[in-house]
């Protein structure tokens, strides 16, 4: 059997190439897994953002419902016992011809 004997130089070269190859593979795998991890994170954040925006829209609509003229009128009359102003109770200020 014939056995080849390699010099240290060659062994180092091959080892270097192997390390470079493995490094690249490792980086590629890390890059891929990191992309996926960041994908999850971005997706979660986008979901959160969307949820917050929906919450804002919901709260705006609720505020609008609470401030609806019908509700304000009812509260003023029923709970605060306010009465509608009579024409003779109104005092106008401004340019009025006497």
């Amino acid at each position: 059997m014939v056995r080849k004997k390699y010099s240290w130089k060659h062994v180092l070269l091959v080892a270097g190439l192997a390390i470079l190859f493995l490094g690249n593979i490792t980086f590629y795998i890390w890059y891929q897994s990191e992309s996926i991890r960041l994908g999850y994170k971005i997706h979660d954040l986008e979901n959160q953002l969307e949820k917050r925006q929906e919450e804002i829209k919901l709260l705006e609509a609720k505020k609008e419902a609470l401030l609806s003229p019908d509700r304000i009128d009812r509260l003023a009359k029923d709970e605060l016992n306010l009465q509608e102003v009579k024409p003779e109770q109104i005092i106008f200020e401004g340019e009025i011809e006497k």
């Binding site: 059997m1 994908g39 019908d70 109104i90 005092i91 106008f92 200020e93 009025i96």
Partner: protein
């Protein structure tokens, strides 16, 4: 390179045999794997690829959120909010009993009726792959169901239309169906703009079905927001006063429209009976927007056109007099009468006191042709072109079909019009002779303009109908006095000058084939203030019980709405009303005098 040759035998005969056996075994093993790989990668490639795509890729349609509808001040009138829908899809291999178990567990949570349960059971028994359990439930309820992890029960995110102001402006807004498609009102008219355009996304999922990458295939175009010309405060005011009048007079229905005279922008459009668009569709009788989808014989409010024809086309002088002493007259096989015997009346007084006898005499002078042309010039018998669906055109018979009795058009019979058409006709006097196109929608944000500062643009498509001189004269000599001392005096508002015209139309009874003496449509149309109109308005009340006349039923409603609307727009009285104090703050003392 050095080559070292080892001449000693590497393996003995026994070992060589073992090595060969291992080699053959490994070769066979690799062949099996190879064949399996060919099976997976080549022979079943298509099918398996499809399975993988199904497992980790989803091409989903993204439905855009429907646009929000705002009033002219930016208040939300309609908005789509997130909701969750529940559907059932049977799990493979699960028996019918287990499938039904999930449904029965939902019964109490979703408050499902027996009919709904039967529908679901029926669908499951028919092995349907997809069945809606309940659409658009609140998020809290959905979270509860999600927590149960029921087999075959899935949740899907949707949107639900919400009208925060409830019944306010219901007929203008309309409503949507369960799939958020507009079915009435602005929701229908502007459906394509509000709806937006759906998009598509490719979603990549991992082995646990968790999303990790989203690629947009087709961009979603969200629904466009729409601003209306409606003023929520004025709308509420109109609805409230109308409801009170309907209840007071036990009337069948009623409508109020308030318009900005120059621009044609509708500030309020109330129709009763009304409905809550959150629970659409309403009963059919509440669905009708009486302001535009109902025609009636307007009665004396149509005299605003007769007066214009008399001046513009027949040149009738204001100093002509008409004998109305008999209180009734017969012509063309029909008779007309006045509410009281009015004596001899001048041209303005005929309209101020709304004499039918006098009006017919004037109509005879005007002539059929001129009268017809003036009604056509005011565009009766044509849609106004308002941006709302289902508008009625009304009826004005063609001149060749007119009989002698058709002169009754002059007093608002033998023609059909919508309340909006009558308002638009009166509005001609408020604009100095122009017919404007009414509108409710403004796509895009509305600049915060106050109507009282007069900055609202005039309608660019407005058409001149009568001269400014005629319009001004008729306002001063007819429509102002009609409110001051005529049939519309219950619309009189202290401190302000109003212009208007009453209308009391007998309703035709198809059973009797005659006009009823007990069923009327009472109306009042006018504008305020008379000299620089901020609002024009019509009030129509159908079949009031008790008082029947427009001046008694509709005019007080007009007065109350006008009073509050003018206050709302900070329009001070033109003259100081009696018993009213003029207050002015002095700089020095801060005391009012």
């Amino acid at each position: 390179m050095k080559i070292v040759v080892d001449r000693s035998p590497v393996l003995s005969g026994q070992n060589r045999k073992k090595t060969r056996m291992i080699f053959i075994f490994l070769l066979a093993w690799f062949l099996v794997i190879g064949f399996r790989l060919i099976d997976l990668q080549v022979l079943n490639h298509k099918k398996l690829k499809q399975e993988v795509i199904e497992q980790n890729q989803d091409l989903i349609t993204i439905w855009p959120t429907r646009g929000t509808i705002f009033d002219r001040q930016g208040r939300i009138l309609a908005r789509s909010l997130p909701a969750v829908s529940i559907f059932f899809s049977p799990t493979r291999g699960e028996d019918l009993k287990d499938q039904l178990k999930s449904i029965y567990e939902l019964k109490s949570i979703l408050n499902l009726s027996e009919t709904e349960i039967n529908r679901l059971v029926n669908s499951i028994e028919k092995r349907k792959r997809f069945t809606w359990v309940k659409r658009k439930i609140p998020l809290e309820q959905a979270e509860k169901i999600k927590g149960l992890k029921l087999s075959g029960i899935y949740l899907i995110n949707e949107n639900k239309r919400f009208y925060p102001q409830g019944r306010l402006a219901a007929h203008v807004l309309g409503g949507v169906n369960i799939d958020d498609a507009g079915l009435a009102g602005v929701e229908y008219y502007y459906d394509s703009a509000l709806r937006g355009r759906e998009g598509q996304q490719l979603i990549m999922r991992d082995a646990r079905r968790k999303e990790y990458y989203i690629e947009t295939i087709k961009e979603t175009q969200p629904g466009q927001d729409i601003y209306l010309t409606i003023d929520s405060n004025l709308q509420y005011l109109a609805e409230k006063e109308l409801r009170q009048a309907i209840e007071k007079f036990k009337a069948s229905w009623g409508t109020v429209i308030i318009m900005s005279p120059a621009s044609g922008e509708i500030l309020a459009m109330a129709s009763y009976p009304d409905y809550d668009p959150n629970y659409f569709p309403p009963p059919p009788e509440a669905m009708v927007n009486r302001a535009i989808q109902y025609t009636y014989e307007p009665g004396s409010t149509a005299k605003v056109v007769t007066a214009a024809a008399a001046r513009e086309l027949a040149g009738i002088s204001y100093n002509t007099y008409y004998d109305c002493r008999t209180g009734s007259m017969t012509f063309g096989g029909t008779s007309v009468r006045d509410h009281v015997r009015l004596g001899i009346l001048s041209f303005p007084d005929v309209f101020i006191h709304s004499s039918n006898v006098g009006s017919i005499q004037i109509a005879e002078i005007i002539g059929e042709k001129n009268l017809y042309h003036m009604f056509k010039a005011f565009q009766f018998g044509e849609k106004t072109g308002i941006d709302l669906p289902g508008e009625e055109a009304g009826i004005v018979h063609p001149l060749e079909k007119w009989r002698k009795s058709s002169l009754r058009v002059a007093i608002g019979y033998e023609l059909a019009a919508t309340p909006l058409q009558i308002l638009r006709a009166m509005n001609v006097y408020a604009t100095g002779g122009y017919l404007v196109r009414p509108k409710v929608g403004l796509i895009g944000p509305y600049t915060q303009q106050n109507i009282s500062d007069g900055s609202l643009r005039s309608d660019e498509s407005r058409q001149p109908v009568i001269s400014e001189k005629t319009a001004r004269e008729l306002v001063d000599l007819v429509f102002k006095p009609a409110v001051e001392r005529g049939t519309g005096n219950q619309a009189r508002l202290d401190g302000y000058e109003l212009a208007g015209k009453t209308g009391t139309a007998q309703k035709f009874d198809p059973a009797l084939r005659a006009y009823s003496i007990s069923r009327h449509v009472a109306s009042f149309v006018g504008f305020a203030p008379a000299d620089h109109p901020l609002i024009s308005m019509i009030v129509v009340i159908d079949e009031p019980k008790g008082p029947q006349y427009g001046g008694q039923v509709a005019a007080p409603v007009f007065r109350e709405i006008a009073r509050k609307a003018l206050l709302y727009y900070h329009e001070p009285p033109q003259k100081l009303p009696e018993n009213m104090i003029l207050a002015r703050q002095t700089k020095e003392s801060g005391v009012t005098d």
